[in-house]
Structures are given as C-alpha cells and as structure tokens.
C-alpha cells in the first residue's frame, strides 16, 4: 500500500500571509511516495469531537520532508493551527497530475489563491513551464520567489491590481495561448477560475488537467461522499474526488 497514517513531527510552521500557514513535517514514508497533485488527509482534532480529517494538498516533498500550506478557515483548520508537536496525517492520497515532459514541451500552469500551493511540486517537475499565479490582493501573494527559483517564467496577477498584473491570471493565459504555443494546461483554484480555464482549454483543443475540491469523509474511496459530476452516465456518473481525483482531465468532469 502506498498510503498509511503516520504521526509526523512538525519541523517548521509559519504564517506566510494573513491566515496562511506554511507547514513542514517529517515523514520519510509519505514524502518518498508523494506525487505532485496528491493530497493529505489531516487529523485536526480528537476523534470524538471532530470525526472528519481535512484534505490538504501536498505542496512539496523532498527526502523525509513533507510540506503543505493551509488557510485557517473553520473549526478544523483553527485547531490545526494549535498543533505544534506531531500531526496525524494519512497519505499520500489520490490521483496525481500526469507529467509527460517528452510529450508536452510547452506546459502552462495556472493557480488561484490557496490553489497555487498544490502546483509547486508540479512546477518543479515540469520542463520549462509558464506559471500564472492569481491572488485577490498583494497581501495574499505567496511563494512567488520560490516558483521563480524552479521555473523560468512566473507571472503574478492580483484581482485588485495591487501587485503584478492588474486582473485575472486567466487573461494572461489567454494571451499566451493566442500568441504562443501551449500544449497542456494544469489548473487549481476556485471553481469560477476552473470553469473559465476548462472552457478556454476546450475551445482551443488543449489538454487540461484540473484539481478539484469536494467535502470528504474517508479520503480513500470507500464512502462515496466526495463525488463530483462527470460526463459518464450511470453508477459512475459521480466520480470520487479522493480516488479518481483530485486531478481530472477537464473533459471528464462537469463543473
């Protein structure tokens, strides 16, 4: 089995933007098995008061170090913020991004908000990607330098124009597609962005992989609570985001 539950020692934890926490833990097992696009099912509280783990993407994995970045939102992530010694993590889980550097010579990567973090390991592993990162405003801009250090071209956009390109990251991607060659797109971010990326990719016949979010129970494919709608008819009209995803080809799913 490639995944299991581990108690992972916290190596570092810091707030890199308001309510955005960057965590590195020690886990040789998960880090060595982790593939870009996979996620972790993280225990944020005790079994009785908080029966569900929280899904959080793998941002990076190297040697025995596993990194993830989360936004403090509700009960679970608020509690996770308080854990300083050991975090109980199940992983790595789910279907990763398809990386084929021989086939796709001109990949484009586009992420929005917390959806930019799962793209970091991917960007490291792609040959020569162009990366577009969108944030609401300057205060949320994170990891720009790190993306820049692992690829030649990272462009940041902010919705309010307070930093980088003034507008949506997808407009930059649109421009790139019009003027240049893009032979695969990888996307992760809020649903409206994914919808727009899916439409853009399909209109231009560019293969596109998107990473989806859905509320989860087991995280391993057993409970069928994390379904997303696909174009398949019948029993598997709803596919499991935790097992068949979180990464899907854009043409598979209905958003």
């Amino acid at each position: 089995m490639s995944h299991d539950v581990y108690k992972c020692k916290v190596i570092s934890k810091k707030e890199i933007a308001p309510n955005i926490i960057d965590v590195t833990v020690e886990s040789k097992e998960i880090a060595s098995a982790a593939m870009a696009g996979q996620f972790l099912h993280v225990k944020c509280g005790d079994d009785i008061s908080m029966p569900l783990r929280r899904p959080i993407s793998i941002c990076d994995a190297e040697d025995d170090k596993l990194r993830f970045i989360f936004e403090v939102k509700g009960r679970g992530t608020k509690n996770l913020l308080l854990i300083d010694d050991e975090i109980d993590i199940m992983g790595p889980l789910g279907t990763p991004f398809t990386i084929d550097n021989d086939k796709y010579k001109n990949p484009a990567v586009i992420g929005g908000g917390i959806g930019t973090y799962p793209l970091f390991k991917l960007t490291k592993e792609l040959d020569n990607p162009t990366v577009y990162l969108g944030f609401r405003s300057e205060a949320q801009v994170t990891l720009e330098d790190e993306f820049n250090s692992v690829c030649d071209m990272t462009v940041v956009a902010t919705d309010d124009g307070s930093y980088g390109y003034n507008g949506y990251a997808i407009d930059l991607l649109k421009g790139k597609i019009e003027n240049d060659v893009v032979d695969i797109i990888y996307a992760c971010g809020p649903k409206p962005m994914l919808k727009a990326v899916k439409a853009l990719a399909e209109a231009n016949n560019i293969p596109c992989q998107i990473s989806l979010e859905e509320r989860m129970g087991c995280g391993i494919g057993a409970c069928l609570t994390c379904s997303c709608e696909t174009k398949t008819e019948g029993t598997w009209k709803y596919k499991r985001v935790c097992k068949n995803g979180p990464v899907f080809w854009s043409t598979e799913v209905v958003l």
Partner: protein
C-alpha cells in the same frame, strides 16, 4: 477467551462488523489491514439496478458527528455478485449484503437473487433517510415493517436482518413488527435525519438539503434504543451509531447488542475496527470475562 458470536445461526469470529455505506466493498480498508480481522463486513447499500446517488456536497461535519446524503450510489446487485463478492469470499469474515429498494418487489427480488449467491446474511435497509421513494418510508410504520418483512422472508434463504430507523416515536413497536414478520436479527440504528445551514450563504450545506446524522453524537440515542429493543425481543441485535472506541462497543453490548458495527469512526481512524476489537479484549482481560457473549445485555438497571 472467546470472541466468537452467533448471529441468527451464522458464526462470526468476533463481534466487529463494518457499518454499511462507510466501508465500500472492503477494498480500500483492506489495504490497511486484513479483512480477516473482522467478524463480518456489511457492504455498501445495494439496489436492484445501479444508482448514481445524490448531487454533491454529500457530507459535512457537525459537532461530534457527520451528516451524509450519499443517496445509495452503488453498482447494483448483479455487479456486486459478479465483481465484489468473489473478492470478499477470500477472507474469513462473513459477508452481509445490505439491500435497499423503492418497492416491496425490489426487496423481494434482491433477497431472492442474493440468497442464491455466496453472501452469508441479508440486511434489509428500510431506514435510509436519503432517498425519496422507499427507504425510510418503509421503516417508520409498524404495519409496513411487518408486511415487508413477511414478504421478503418468503424469498430470503439466508438469515434476514432488518435495519431499523431511529426516526420513529417508538422503536420497540418497529422491532416487534420486524420480529413478527419473521426477521432473524435486527440492526440499529441507521442515521438520524438532520440538517446544517451555511449562515454566510444562507443555503443548506448538503445539496440534498437534509442528510443522515451519524458518529459519536448519536451514540446515546443508539444505546437507549438498543436497550429498549433488548427489553422487548430476544432476536440478536447488531448495535451501531457512534461506536469509536472499545469502550463504546462495550457500552453498546451492555445495552443489549450481540455484535456492533463501526461506521463513521473508520473515517478518522482507518484502523478503527482493529483498535475497537483490541479495546474489547482489554476490557475483558481487566474484568476477567472469558466470553464476549457474557457482556451482552448485562447493564444493571435497578
């Protein structure tokens, strides 16, 4: 130390059963530990024909529990028998097929078909709160329970477990009706109908609006219902609803159940079933109990 329990003539190696719908067909959790660890596996709720289930979101957490509205997504009885059952039969755990239907005929046909297969027991789910027709509609009226149990019994050549809904005023009426209808065992409880609202968007969190509540939050309700049902019938009882630790399992057995099923607890701890079994053994050692059956119904109420 004896951990074996007998449910309606079927001997289980231990009293741990997986709760239907939380454990798929065992493949995923079977990667964590051998299914031989279990007394029985109760599979995802089956319907006669494949079902696609409800739109997402289908799950959310509430205080100490979860709400789900999966709506019986499953590949149908035939696919189960052909593709899943042979895998499960490789293990020593018994296999319980959980059946759901829209009509009495659906249940009868499924019972007939499954009786010809290698499953060990049938569990009739007349208590699913997440489907419009059938489901819980069958499970909340004593006359209907009596009638459907009688009919399905005609086709069931394997022991028939009737799974009761907690969404009723008097659980003992439902239990007695199932017994009269010929049920070989009872399982309780299914989920409690609940609802959660996102106060920012003012929309229900589940796309289905309502869902079934399970997990630690429902355990006292389950313990009470098992206790009440134990007073009115001698049928074997499979107790479930919030069992998370060995202590929970013991409590439920003291209330009157002969075996226990583990559902929601699997989500937090994939080894929950194994850990709960260990917890039962620890309790037995501590209190010098040689036979797990000696715990059932032994609550002292003066």
């Amino acid at each position: 130390m004896n951990m074996k329990v007998n449910i309606a003539g079927v001997e289980l190696n231990n009293p741990i059963i997986t709760a239907s719908g939380t454990y798929g067909f065992g493949r995923e959790y079977g990667e964590f530990y051998s299914l031989n660890e279990l007394g029985a596996i109760c599979v995802k709720g089956l319907t006669l024909l494949p079902r696609e289930g409800n739109p997402p979101p289908r799950i959310t957490e509430t205080y100490g529990g979860i709400l789900n509205s999966v709506g019986l997504q499953n590949p149908g009885v035939e696919a189960f028998i052909e593709y899943e059952l042979p895998e499960l039969k490789k293990y020593t755990c018994k296999v319980i097929a959980n059946m759901s239907g829209n009509t009495i005929e659906d249940y009868c046909k499924m019972a007939e078909r499954l009786s010809d297969s290698d499953v060990d027991m049938l569990e009739m789910n007349i208590s699913c709160p997440n489907v419009k027709a059938g489901g819980v509609a069958f499970g909340t009226n004593a006359d209907t329970i009596l009638n459907i149990t009688k009919e399905v019994k005609k086709y069931a050549k394997k022991p028939l477990i009737v799974k009761l809904s907690p969404n009723v005023t008097d659980i003992t009426e439902m239990a007695k009706a199932a017994e009269q209808g010929g049920a070989d065992a009872l399982s309780l409880i299914n989920t409690l109908l609940g609802m959660a609202i996102d106060i920012k968007t003012r929309r229900p969190i589940l796309a289905n609006v309502t869902g079934g509540l399970s997990g630690p939050a429902v355990k006292p309700v389950a313990v009470r219902m098992i206790y009440q049902v134990r007073q009115c019938t001698n049928l074997p009882i499979i107790g479930m609803g919030g069992v998370t630790t060995g202590d929970d399992a013991i409590e439920m057995m003291l209330a009157g159940s002969n075996a226990i099923a583990v559902g929601t607890a699997n989500f937090m701890n994939p080894y929950a079933c194994v850990d709960i079994k260990k917890g039962i053994v620890d309790y037995m050692e501590k209190y010098n109990i040689d036979d797990v059956n000696d715990i059932s119904g032994k609550v002292i109420v003066k």
